[in-house]
């Protein structure tokens, strides 16, 4: 991690924390806090695709929304190209948003049903002061770029299929030529045969436009096709970060190993002979996380140390960090 080198990362997230207040029951008014994100730090370089992977409730989506300040983080720092986003006023933030955009999971609710596709794709430009003619021209260009065709502009979202709507969402995110796009499970709501199209499109855009991605996903096979680095989250914390190839070939954290072994492979000959690590139980609730290492309650390696000391996220190889007391490679 460098602060002054020429290749300062595009995004620097440090000790990000997000707490939500939850009321446990209606008659007891005392609020309990739930820590969805508990001190997460990572960098994204320009043009790099980082994936946040984990199961539902691990805080990956909340992290992304905090990075884009769609949700206010409770504490921590998010620097985007040197600018501290958490300290911007709402007016400054609106201007800064030009450079980071988001693609949402559900292509049905993420488009305004009362606006035409052209209006949806052109709105970011309108908001940032373009005139109608510019907006029209750019919308047509963008729709070509996501392979929908410029004549889609006059139609409404409900006239398109899920995959096509997701393309509209991507075109909207591209409109202001951002440096970073956060993708929140962009293909998980789509049918299998459509997913591949969107993955291909995203790969193409990433390479063509040099975009940085913050990619949120639970499907490890999709992640492998789209990201340069992967961060695995469990219960609000990052447990392992590595380059994609390293993570899949040499996972170090027990949870990463379990995740990889639980993801089914669509080949009956391989799938039936796999030795799999099946975790017992479910992830604990973030309202009351386990002491020490948060994964210890489901971990087959856990010892008394794990309950007492929380393992720090440390380098075990170049660009490979793990938060575990044991060296699982030996």
């Amino acid at each position: 991690m460098t602060s002054t080198s020429i290749e300062a990362p595009l995004v620097q997230v440090r000790d990000l924390v997000k707490e939500f207040e939850v009321r446990r029951s209606s008659w007891r008014t005392q609020a309990t806090t739930l820590q969805a994100v508990s001190g997460v730090s990572f960098d994204i370089s320009a043009g790099e695709a980082l994936a946040l992977v984990g199961e539902s409730g691990c805080g990956k989506s909340t992290t992304a929304r905090c990075v884009l300040r769609l949700t206010e983080p409770t504490s921590g720092s998010v620097r985007f190209d040197g600018v501290e986003l958490t300290e911007l006023s709402s007016g400054e933030l609106r201007k800064a948003r030009k450079r980071f955009q988001m693609v949402f999971q559900d292509p049905y609710t993420s488009l305004n049903p009362r606006m035409t596709v052209g209006e949806i794709v052109g709105e970011p430009l309108l908001v940032h002061g373009a005139n109608a003619a510019e907006q029209l021209a750019r919308a047509a260009e963008l729709l070509e770029q996501v392979q929908l065709g410029a004549d889609a502009a006059d139609r409404y979202p409900h006239q398109f299929s899920g995959g096509q709507r997701q393309r509209v969402g991507i075109a909207r995110a591209l409109a202001l030529s951002p440096d970073l796009i956060a993708l929140d499970e962009p293909v998980s709501a789509l049918d299998v045969s459509i997913q591949a199209e969107i993955i291909r499109l995203l790969q193409h855009l990433r390479d063509e436009l040099g975009l940085a991605f913050l990619f949120i996903a639970h499907d490890l096979s999709v992640v492998r096709h789209l990201s340069h680095r992967v961060a695995v989250m469990y219960l609000g914390k990052i447990v392992e970060v590595a380059r994609t190839a390293d993570l899949y070939s040499r996972p170090a954290h027990p949870y990463t190993k379990a995740l990889l072994s639980a993801a089914p492979i669509p080949d009956p000959l391989i799938e039936r002979d796999r030795v799999r690590i099946v975790l017992t139980g479910d992830p604990p609730t973030p309202v009351n996380p386990p002491s020490g290492c948060r994964f210890r309650t489901r971990c087959w390696r856990a010892e008394s140390l794990c309950a007492e000391v929380e393992p720090p996220l440390i380098d075990i190889a170049e660009g490979h960090k793990v938060a575990c007391h044991f060296n699982l490679w030996s």
Partner: protein
């Protein structure tokens, strides 16, 4: 694989399901043929709108009133389609168990899980409430519900998604069914929990010789559990056959395309090949083969005549081009 000479447990022939919608109707299932033998896991695979769930609801007589079904569904010799409601009720939850995608909405939020499972037992058998409740705890133990004796009094909202799905499976198994119809049983679950539930289903089918109809869109789940695979497209079977043949020697262009478009954990460098286009919406009958507009192998005839299911090697395939076969034939020459 079960003995093919014994009569099948569930036999669906030429099943049609039509839904009345605002401007006419949707022909969601267009002549489905499906055979499930005793002790066999038959997967029904397809994308949303392929008619996989509709055909199972029709089988169970659970269609909404705006839907109509025709054809034949024989379960162990009894015709289910058009059977009187009491007959259907005794078979559903009796000899046919069901589990659905979302266990939360399928469970009653104001009854504890022991009562709910007991309820399923009492509905079909002459037993005292006490017996039914002890049977319920037994069932929970069978589905590896941790600490079943004590936690049998929990309410659905106190359980995680995986635990709820175990409760659903326990309820489905309450009356020793011959067949379990599982509609996307793991779609709502996380991968590590999905692995647990799949393990459970695997061990149950072995210990109880349970036949399972596994309805899913997830080919990974299919690969791990199914004996036979039925690939549905636009309301019909595109291809069906033994699981290894479907995955390793797919014949129908749709199956081939589906497998080529799938991102795979074990093959990171493989280029994904999308199928392109979208499935037909079935407001009107497709002309010719319903896959032809998206098919890269389609010839002129494909747009005119809908191909019937025909045997190709170990599979049944509805395609008049059969690109793979012509390729191997050329190769062998």
């Amino acid at each position: 694989m079960s003995d093919l000479t014994t009569p099948p447990l569930l036999e669906i022939r030429d099943l049609h399901v039509r839904f009345a919608v605002r401007n006419g109707q949707v022909h969601a299932v267009r002549g489905l043929d499906l055979t499930v033998h005793r002790g066999e896991v038959a997967a029904v695979v397809g994308e949303s709108g392929s008619g996989k769930s509709a055909s199972m609801l029709a089988t169970l007589g659970l269609l909404d009133i705006n839907a109509s079904a025709s054809g034949s569904v024989r379960f162990d010799g009894t015709e289910l389609l058009g059977a009187p409601p009491p007959v259907l009720r005794s078979i559903r939850g009796g000899r046919i168990g069901m589990i659905f995608q979302d266990p939360m909405t399928s469970l009653n939020p104001v009854l504890d899980i022991r009562r709910q499972i007991a309820e399923a037992v009492i509905t079909h058998r002459q037993v005292s409430p006490r017996q039914a409740e002890s049977k319920a705890v037994e069932l929970l133990e069978m589905v590896s519900f941790p600490d079943a004796v004590r936690r049998a009094r929990s309410y659905p909202h106190e359980l995680s998604g995986g635990m709820r799905q175990r409760v659903m499976i326990a309820m489905a198994l309450a009356n020793d069914p011959d067949i379990l119809i599982a509609d996307e049983p793991t779609t709502a679950l996380d991968v590590t929990v999905q692995a647990q539930i799949l393990d459970l289903l695997r061990s149950l089918r072995q210990s109880r010789e349970l036949a399972i109809v596994l309805i899913t869109h997830d080919l990974g789940v299919v690969a791990g559990l199914a004996d036979t695979v039925n690939v549905m497209y636009a309301g019909r079977i595109a291809e069906s056959g033994p699981v290894v043949d479907i995955f390793h020697r797919p014949q129908h262009p749709y199956t081939i395309g589906l497998l080529a478009s799938l991102p795979r954990l074990d093959r990171p460098d493989r280029e994904l090949t999308p199928i392109g286009g979208v499935p037909p919406r079935l407001y009107e009958e497709p002309e010719g083969c319903s896959f032809a507009p998206r098919c890269r192998y389609a010839v002129e005839a494909c747009h005119e005549v809908e191909p019937p299911l025909e045997r190709v090697e170990a599979s049944m395939v509805a395609c008049s081009v059969l690109p793979m076969r012509s390729r191997t034939a050329e190769g062998s020459l």
